[in-house]
Symmetry: C2
Subunit: 746 residues, 2 copies
């Protein structure tokens, strides 16, 4: 089969990405670490991060084994095995990426110290970050390929079904059950690691940060990143744990979710839509089905190759000493995205060429012929970029909203909080409209399959965006090391410059994270509904997939579902506060019990702080995560799949709003504080009278915003993804066994 | 027709309620006002409140006339006229209730001063509040009766249709269009006044409050309610404007919405459900239809009579000097509710007796025969009470959550905010579950009609709940007058005691407000869907009402809809802040320009503050309200009714969450501050070292929470009600004329 040969592109992309990641890993590691003090600090951070990830993975492996066993027993061995592969891939990417980040940070500091050259320093930081980016996309695709090889999924499994019993739709349940569940098992494996890395990491990083600040800045009046503060190493570990490993596995999950929901939707549409069109003689051919199934993976492979080009452009191009960092990073991203778009265009053209035009139009809803998937993908990419730009508008202090918050700090903390809240709330509307246009547009041009294409489009150059996103925390860490190693201020200036650009790119990255999570979960939701409404379609009860939201069971599900993200967010905020309090107590204890610590004569016990943060974060994440996983599963077995459908709709809608709200409010508070520090607010200058009161008010805003933007917001993405994935894995069971059905209540 | 004779109950209830309201009005007014200073202050408040309401009603009358004209031209003269009647009823109730509240406040102070008897003072305050309660229910029913008489709606209009063209379903559109639109025109009239009173009043009250506090407490260090503060009268006016007139018209609107959605649903179910059951020979008889149409109004009438009994119990029963205020108020409510429940039981029994049991069961979904509507109503009442109790749990300082917030104030303002936010977010889950159980339960027992019955049940004793809710701000005002008139502390103690109970009852009242708004809007949503899907049912495209939330247009609608309450809330918060800033400037100006003001030698210019608050609040409410009204209308004409259906679902779901979140977080911050003041937090005592810092942190929380709980939360109720009502009025037009249909996009 000629079309399948295209999978070679995927294999080539995986090998290329992994080889490049390995190259960048080892060449980064070979760079010099600098002074002994720098080595010492870097090693403390590295050991701390390693300790956390080991502790976390130990617990994950227990929970993961239980889940895998349950899946094997109650669902199928294929699903269980796919789950394990997913978990290994995601855990692997997180581990490698974080490892190199903890090697890269000190080497960035050293590069800045030795060369005093922004361009050269940027290359070191970006090379470190690129390992994570390449691993995320490479491992995700590797896992998908493995599953393809092991189970002969994608085309082979379908061939089986086709071979055994034609026409396929009479046996769609076999295809469906095996196919959907195995693939969603893979996604679930990625989800569970993402949950731990993102939620656990998010609690870790903010608990350490708040703990360090609350005692350090407020009580002991020592600056940030001061080595006398026992929590300072934990704070730096947190950046690696939350912002590197957490972000990486979060986007890996979105990437897998988008890709697989495209494959699943393609298959389901094939199985179900054909049914309703038999009367007109419009039947999807096997070749077209294959095109639909292969498109997502190959598109992802093409995107990955584009990213390798984009990344190596930045690593190899000669840079000036005072290079425009922002522009260079953007160039790398644009090159990656550009190659993705061109590759997708060719792919869309060739894969969907030569099929019956009427079938494409009537059955699949491809309004623009074989270019339809490409247009949908471009819509997704455009939406991601625009949402990022909107986030920047609301959170950067170059624009009115954040300036307004900074100004209102003059009137005290209450108005800082009030203004920030208002900004965050108002900022929900525009991104949602963009999302809506992209969803409706991609549907209008390429049917339900188009929505999945838009999601894949948004994530096709994920390797580049993750590289850029990871470079940020590496630079942040590098700055911390410079501070703690008493290097000259010039060094810090260079790392600060890199860090500042990282903050801007992070805002756009967050736009992509929220946008892609929304798209991925919405396609997963459609797959979910296909999976449980399929029989109704066959029986002729309904003639298209639908979820009736005024059905009381679904409506109640939607109401309860909408409350889940709120409850989850509230619990996470409390979790951060609790873990931070433990840290505060420990820092206070050390200040009291270790004499000479504040004079810099005695070394604080960094390890103990790291231990407290690790254990605290894992402990505090248990209940919120359990709630996220248990609610859909339990309610599915009690109230049935219609209820869970409503639950997912409600949860997705309210999580998107809360994620935008928390992300933008938190970002705006953070930058409002920086704006005041930069002297932007009229009449408020550092050192002058009244400055402290205004700055204190802004610090309250920043402290409130920290857990919102770095723990709650990102975790909400995971929440809806894991809820959708787990429901998709279980839907066949919900359909067969549920209490309401058994009691004939419905 | 014998059944229609039952409408005499309604007429009797209206006359009784209005007569009692008049009696209480005039007997309250006849009471003595006390010293000259008291009279002077009370008169200032009264004049201020009157000035605001006049200014507001002037603007409302312009906008209302335009809306009425548009309705008459584009919809029907009946709808326009019904709209005017609704607006007049709501405006009338708000006016009368607020007027007497501004007479009652000083009389309460005087009663406390003269008698030093809590029981007697309570009676004066409650008598004042009862006028509002009786007017709300009386005027709402009066308007409904007027419409009945004028248009012969309810049974006569249907008789017409029946007479002209049997069977009714072939001509359902005539029935539907006339009936639904006229009735929803009435509801829309009530909505528009509620919007102005609640949103405008909410901005007014918090702008004055924050303005007074920001300069008075923080800058000039004078206590609350100090007559030297120029904004203090405006602050007291605000209580009357926001908490009396605003709350009254809010609940009046819910009451009307619930009642009418019951009537509309009954009619639509009759018209549509019959269709699908013709094959089985299950046809709803005209007598059963009448029962369904009359039940809501008569139930409301019975409830009103019960409230008159409950209210007069408290006014006539002999009370001890140190009576248990809380228990007495509860008794009055329980008596009212009890009579409602018993009346409903009899009504349900007699009205639905003697109909075909199979029709009741199969067509209407009455699982418990003729008692079904009663069971649904009881479920609604129970849900309202339980949601109120849950609110109390999260906001009263007798329980853990608020104590936790108070404790975290020791660690600074940031953690106070963080904890309060977390509490508010977590508090969303339980009320939603209760709501869900009630919705599903009332549906399971009495079909879609049951959901409307539950809403009516919750509001059947609205006269009693509004009386209790209005008594709170009257007592609050009385305390302010006592303070400003330099009366003995004992007087203030009595009014404070009444005020404290008022705060607790207000929490439960808020539970009812949110619960009833949710129920009312959900029934309105069902009516909306019936109205635009009716034709599909006739054509056989669908066989039950449904709104497919995975239809892309509806899904995008739901996403955008969910963002509306967030944007609306953010805009309202900013509106309060803006209006408060104007007040701050004015107070600062007076302190600077009027010599001797802080020494108590010169009188501040209260009028100017009132003027600034009035104009500011009306100015600032324009854009948020315009957005609320314009979005559904414009998007209906562009994207069609499916989109608006999604919009409503999304908006209702997210508004319920935000309303619970803002209400509970705000209440908890408020009471956390009070808990600290009462000395409840360990190691934090008034006058001791460190108290001020803790208290300051709590004040930040309280200030942040104020606009959330008193402006945003209540306004969200109105937002979703007015969005649903206006969509219901316009749905027939959306269906006929929309751009997407015209361009054949869908």
């Amino acid at each position: 089969m000629a079309v399948e040969l295209l999978l070679i592109i995927v294999a080539a992309a995986v090998i290329l990405a992994c080889a490049c990641a390995a190259l960048n890993y080892f060449t980064t590691k070979k760079l010099k670490e600098g002074t002994e003090r720098m080595q010492e600090i870097a090693s403390a951070i590295r050991v701390g991060a390693g300790a956390f990830i080991k502790y976390e993975y130990k617990i994950v492996s227990v929970i993961g084994s239980i889940v895998a066993a349950l899946l094997i027993i109650f669902v199928s061995w294929q699903t269980g095995l796919a789950f394990i592969i997913g978990a290994l891939m995601s855990a692997g990417a997180g581990f490698v990426g974080m490892k190199i980040a903890t090697y890269a940070n000190v080497r960035v500091t050293n590069a800045a110290n030795e060369t005093r050259d922004t361009g050269k320093t940027l290359k070191v930081a970006f090379k470190g970050g690129s390992v994570m980016g390449l691993c995320v996309a490479g491992f995700a695709l590797l896992g998908a390929l493995l599953i393809y090889v092991i189970f002969g999924i994608a085309c082979h499994q379908i061939d089986d079904v086709l071979g055994n019993t034609k026409p396929i739709w009479t046996n769609w349940t076999k295809l469906d059950a095996g196919f959907t569940m195995t693939l969603s098992g893979y996604a679930l494996g990625c989800s569970i690691i993402a949950l731990f890395n993102r939620v656990g990491g998010g609690i870790y990083t903010k608990a350490a940060d708040m703990g360090a600040d609350l005692v350090g800045k407020t009580e002991a009046h020592i600056p940030e990143d001061d080595p006398r503060n026992p929590a300072t190493i934990a704070d730096n570990v947190g950046d690696n744990v939350g912002d590197v490993a957490g972000l990486g596995s979060d986007l890996l999950e979105s990437f897998v979710g988008a890709m697989l929901s495209g494959v699943i939707l393609g298959c389901e549409i094939y199985a179900h839509q054909s049914l309703t069109n038999i009367a007109n003689g419009l039947i999807v051919s096997e070749a077209l089905l294959k095109a639909m199934l292969l498109f997502p993976m190959i598109f992802a492979g093409v995107g990955l190759i584009g990213c390798v080009v984009g990344i190596f452009y930045l690593l190899l191009v000669p840079l000036k000493k005072n290079t425009n960092v922002h522009m260079q990073l953007n160039l790398a991203t644009w090159i990656s995205a550009g190659i993705s778009v061109i590759g997708c265009f060719l792919l869309s053209f060739f894969l969907f060429k030569g099929h019956d035009a009427e079938v494409l139009k009537q059955v699949l809803g491809f309004k623009a012929g074989n270019f339809s998937p490409w247009i949908a993908a471009v819509l997704g990419i455009a939406a991601g970029i625009i949402i990022g730009i909107i986030s920047e508008h609301y959170t950067s202090y170059d624009y009115k909203p954040t300036k307004g918050i900074a100004k209102s700090s003059k009137e005290g903390a209450a108005l800082t909080i009030t203004e920030g809240m208002a900004t965050g709330m108002i900022s929900c509307m525009l991104p949602v409209i963009v999302l809506g246009v992209a969803i409706y547009g991609s549907y209008a041009v390429a049917g339900m399959y188009g929505v999945a294409c838009a999601a894949i489009g948004m994530l096709s150059f994920v390797a580049a965006t993750v590289s850029v996103d990871t470079y940020g925390p590496i630079s942040d860490n590098a700055g911390g090391i410079a501070e703690m190693s008493f290097l000259e201020p010039e060094v810090r200036e260079i790392t600060d410059q890199l860090d500042a650009v990282g903050n801007t790119t992070a805002a756009i990255g967050k736009g992509f994270a929220i946008g892609s999570a929304s798209f991925a979960t919405l396609s997963l939701l459609c797959s979910y509904i296909y999976a449980f409404r399929g029989e109704d379609i066959i029986k002729g009860v309904i003639n298209m997939i639908s979820l009736n939201v005024v059905d009381p069971l679904t409506l109640v599900g939607a109401l309860v579902g909408a409350a889940i993200p709120f409850m989850f967010s509230g619990m996470l905020i409390q979790a951060v506060a609790k873990a931070a309090r433990r840290m505060v107590e420990e820092v206070r204890r050390q200040f009291k019990e270790i004499p000479g610590i504040l004079e810099g004569e005695a070394k604080p016990d960094y390890e103990n702080c790291i231990k407290i943060s690790s254990q605290g974060s894992i402990k505090e994440m248990r209940i919120p995560c359990l709630v996220a996983i248990a609610i859909p599963v339990v309610s599915g077995f009690v109230f049935g799949p219609e209820f869970v459908g409503g639950l997912l709709v409600g949860a997705i809608i309210s999580a998107i709003m809360l994620a935008i709200y928390t992300g933008n409010a938190g970002g705006a508070w953070d930058n409002a504080k920086k704006y005041i520090e930069s002297g932007g607010v009229e009449g408020v200058k550092k050192g002058e009278e009244g400055y402290d009161a205004v700055h204190d008010a802004a610090v309250v805003g920043d402290t409130v915003g920290d857990p919102l933007k770095d723990t709650v917001g990102p975790s909400l993405d995971i929440l809806i993804k894991i809820m959708s994935t787990i429901s998709l894995v279980m839907v066949v069971l919900f359909n067969k066994y549920n209490l309401f059905d058994a009691l004939h209540i419905v």
